[in-house]
Chain length 585, copies 2
């Protein structure tokens, strides 16, 4: 019976075993041939000795890297001087008496274990790159996470129900991928951005507890952690409220982290309102693995004779600061200039700073601080010699974006982030709407089906900006891991919501008429959540490249370099689909 490399342990010494795999490396030494044989589990050193089998040795002489071979032989203890601590099987080896070449290999375009290969080459030869144990282990972890989530939800009597991929285009949200219909001339399906409407209809149909681990699609310009198709853990439940949803998800997270990482997560998980997250961290998904919180110095700034600070506050903006305790000597003027360049990408006009040295404030703006100012600042920020203070004075939006992102950058640069720590955090009480200056209208901060707090329903049409949603996001180490909400389940509130979003009655009925009608025939209260599954894998695998967690990922321009997709198709195909290509010259 064939065994995996790591199934063979010292206890099998003296036994005859059978292995299959790829040749990772061949070394010839003193008339012997040593091969590192790689399979899904790991690597085993197999040895060819003419005294054991001339024939096997002869075959081995013709074997090259990435040949697929089958070997049989005896398990031997290595001499302690030959131990290899880099591999799990490093204390043993297999002395081969039979070998068969199952498949030859030409010299591959790169050595599998070579870490220096450019990513586009690795993506073109993805099947070679996937031979790396690192990537294989991530795919295994992905499977374990998938399995653990399913086990939890199955036990909680959730039912995996598949929803359509050929769906309908909706104008709200990101850009859709479209699929022309052959049967219905001039009409198109859209690939779903999420199964949101389907899962709500499943609640209306009385399925009560639904989940799905499902592909979703967004035709957006890609960022490092985005892909055109991504996988979502989608959950919906009837007769629930925010507390029940949070409790259920905390149990799931606890179970999953134990199963997949062997880590105990304490519950209840920490919670924070959106308002608090923005105030203290400047972002809606705070990384709580480190401090560096934002200090609000707006009130204080009124008393400082520094025009930049005062005018920001007087114009309705704010002044906030991050204090780097004891770090001032690590930051030269040049370093701080670089930080300033960085915050400018978030719209800040500048980055003011002060160093605390020899019991006093130092730096170009120190002169604006009176004796009283200094005293107050010392107290407010608990300043000590060695501290560096970084200020941004601007609108609330710019201050938070600048300092929130600067905070994350500083923590990485200063190595303040403890390894192997998983900080989960609920962010609750989101605003229901976001105002888009450019479009001149409100958009749903989550999606148009999120319910407002009961006490805010009256403000839907009068003061949308004040409406708080029954929405909850789960954040892990500064990444948005998932987002959920209790849904609107009556047609009246849903209609108000669409009006607040600027839909005309016609647009609303055209797009969502069937949903509003569905609400009229008995809709249970319901809520749900969706996790970004790829991102969850990414965070558990400790990589920051989303392509590492996807077997066949696409590039930033949404290309599959291996298959060469997208690609041209025949005119005949297009004709059948009633479309023509229309390329602008």
């Amino acid at each position: 019976m064939r065994r995996y490399a790591t199934e063979i342990t010292e206890e099998l010494t003296g036994e005859r075993v059978h292995l299959k795999g790829w040749v990772q490396k061949r070394r010839d030494l003193g008339g012997l041939i040593f091969i590192d044989l790689r399979d899904r589990s790991g690597v085993m050193q197999v040895v060819f000795n003419p005294e054991v089998s001339e024939a096997a040795l002869e075959t081995a002489e013709r074997i090259r890297s990435e040949y697929v071979i089958s070997v049989t032989g005896e398990v031997l203890q290595r001499d302690p001087s030959q131990y290899n601590d880099n591999i799990e099987t490093g204390k043993i080896e297999v002395l081969v008496d039979e070998v068969e070449v199952l498949s030859k290999a030409e010299t591959p375009p790169f050595q599998v274990m070579d870490e220096s290969i450019a990513e586009d080459i690795r993506l073109k030869y993805r099947y070679l790159d996937l031979r790396k144990p690192k990537l294989q282990n991530i795919l295994k972890l992905r499977h374990q996470l998938n399995r653990s989530i399913r086990n939890f939800l199955d036990n909680e009597t959730f039912i995996d129900i598949e929803t359509p991929v050929l769906s309908k285009s909706t104008p709200e949200g990101a850009r859709d991928y479209l699929v022309p219909s052959r049967v219905h001339e001039g009409e198109f399906y859209a690939l779903p951005q999420s199964p949101q409407i389907y899962k709500q209809l499943l609640m209306l149909s009385g399925m009560e507890r639904y989940y799905q681990i499902v592909k979703c699609f967004r035709d957006e310009d890609l960022r490092a952690d985005r892909q055109p198709e991504f996988t979502q853990v989608d959950i919906e439940m009837s007769f629930t409220d925010q507390e029940q949803m949070i409790e259920l998800n905390e149990r799931m997270i606890t179970q999953v982290m134990k199963d997949v990482k062997g880590v105990d997560i304490e519950t209840p998980l920490p919670r924070m309102t959106y308002a608090q997250a923005m105030a203290e961290y400047g972002v809606d998904k705070p990384d709580t693995r480190f401090g560096l919180k934002l200090n609000d110095l707006s009130d204080f700034s009124r008393s400082v004779d520094f025009k930049v600070f005062r005018s920001a506050v007087e114009n309705g903006g704010m002044v906030k600061a991050i204090v780097l305790k004891g770090e001032e000597s690590r930051f030269s003027r040049k370093d701080i200039d670089k930080l300033e360049t960085y915050v400018k990408t978030y719209g800040a006009k500048g980055l003011a700073w002060l160093k605390v040295k020899e019991g006093d404030l130092n730096g170009p703006i120190a002169k604006f601080f009176s004796e009283d100012n200094r005293k107050e600042l010392y107290e407010t920020l608990s300043l000590e010699n060695g501290d560096l203070i970084l200020f941004v004075a601007d609108t609330e939006k710019v201050v938070h974006a600048s300092l929130g992102n600067l905070r994350n950058k500083l923590a990485k640069g200063l190595d303040l982030i403890p390894e192997g720590q998983f900080n989960f955090l609920w962010v609750t009480d989101w605003p229901l709407f976001e105002y888009d200056e450019e479009a001149g209208r409100y958009f749903a901060a989550h999606h148009p089906f999120t319910s407002p707090k009961a006490e805010d329903v009256g403000k839907l049409e009068t003061a949308p900006e004040e409406v708080i949603a029954n929405a909850y996001d789960i954040v892990l180490n500064g990444y948005e891991l998932g987002g959920g909400s209790v849904r609107i389940h009556d047609a009246e509130t849903q209609e108000k919501m669409f009006r607040a979003l600027g839909f005309t009655d016609e647009e609303r009925d055209e797009q969502f008429g069937f949903l509003l009608e569905a609400f009229k025939y008995g809709a249970p209260p319901h809520g749900g959540i969706a996790y970004g599954f790829d991102r969850f894998v990414m965070l558990l695998a400790g990589t920051d490249n989303i392509r590492d967690v996807i077997a066949f990922p696409k590039t930033a321009s949404a290309s599959d370099l291996m298959m060469n997709a997208p690609s041209k198709v025949s005119g005949e195909q297009l004709k059948e689909l009633h479309i023509e290509v229309d390329i602008e010259e």
Copy 2:
């Protein structure tokens, strides 16, 4: 704590319980109100009595069908005269003291339990139709099957690996659904017809054991048991052969049938070669739950002085017959005419017949049979009084298609199919190619990656029609449940295969160059199988409508009547995708 209806049993008599659900029916009787409350588990009768709560009764008076309500009350034994054997909870009821209306309902377009509603109406209001226990139970069964398959494969160390939905168009196979690319002008993705190439590349990458339960897409004209998007259980394994694959799948089938249906399936499952299936059943997916095998009378027919039979055989065709034991009296001349009309749809020119009555052959063709002919036919077919013999004389293709389908039709009509029986069958030794008269070339009977039997490799280019494939289909009750094969894993054989399929070298390299290159860097022997998951559910659920097993199915014209998809999209969307609609007037 809220309980499901069927969680409440007689043992809870006297206890106070809390239920939530939909009002299936309300009856007012002698000052009391009775409501059938439906939830995911089933139905509970809840009773409102003014002596228990005036307020609850008053609320109940306003409650209508499909209201969503929450009730609390005491579990009572019903009087035996009031037992309702139609529901699981028919011996008890709940006497309500508290009730809350969670959601009102207008009169729905149809009563949920009404079985007489046309399917297009039910599909438009799918969320109402899905309230039917029958459909909910099928979705639960679907989930159980999904779960059971996963559990089996997980335990066998298979890894669930997701493959792309935005993939590449390939000319071989069915018609692709295309997705225009916004970033790459004039180029298109294709939705995968199966993850075939990806799963083979995963084997080349050393993942060794892969599975996925995954959506696939075919833009074909739909038949009763087909949908434009369907779900496939996709499995692939390295270092395997046909026997290992069959053994693995038999263990999976045994496990799944036990888990989902509580049925013990005996293994090894029966097997049959493709040649035998065609010869004895006329089809490549025989339903072995009943007899009615085809009898080959070609040789015999040479001695019969009946031109139709003799010329068929002399022209290289055949004569076959089905014997219906003891059924002759059930078939009038008119009935047989109808059967003739049926076989004509399969190309037969006629349906000859004989009845065995009073020790002799009767019917219009009886006169052609000599005394010797009669004797021989009696012996060959073990004829007895009451038998009806149905003959088709034609080319092999027509004879098999006519009688094979007639056989299935007769079995249904004569009620010869035992209920609740699951007859699995392997069909092996398929031809590698099918010749298409119209296209004037060979096509792959399975797909172009199926390997030929080792001894037939030499015939790939010289006598393709004789090449037998390492292919195995699993048949359940006359349906193709799944199909698999051992794959080609060397570039040389794969290149021969493409030549046999009529690819030019340029076409081959354009479409599959990356795969042929991949085979050069160490490809393990590998094989796999894919099951039609929707069909599997259909057969286990005992329905013959594929739409019953899909939460949100499409119609025969690939429409989603509920969402109204496909639909028109904006010119702006099309412009971004560099396409124009091109409708012929």
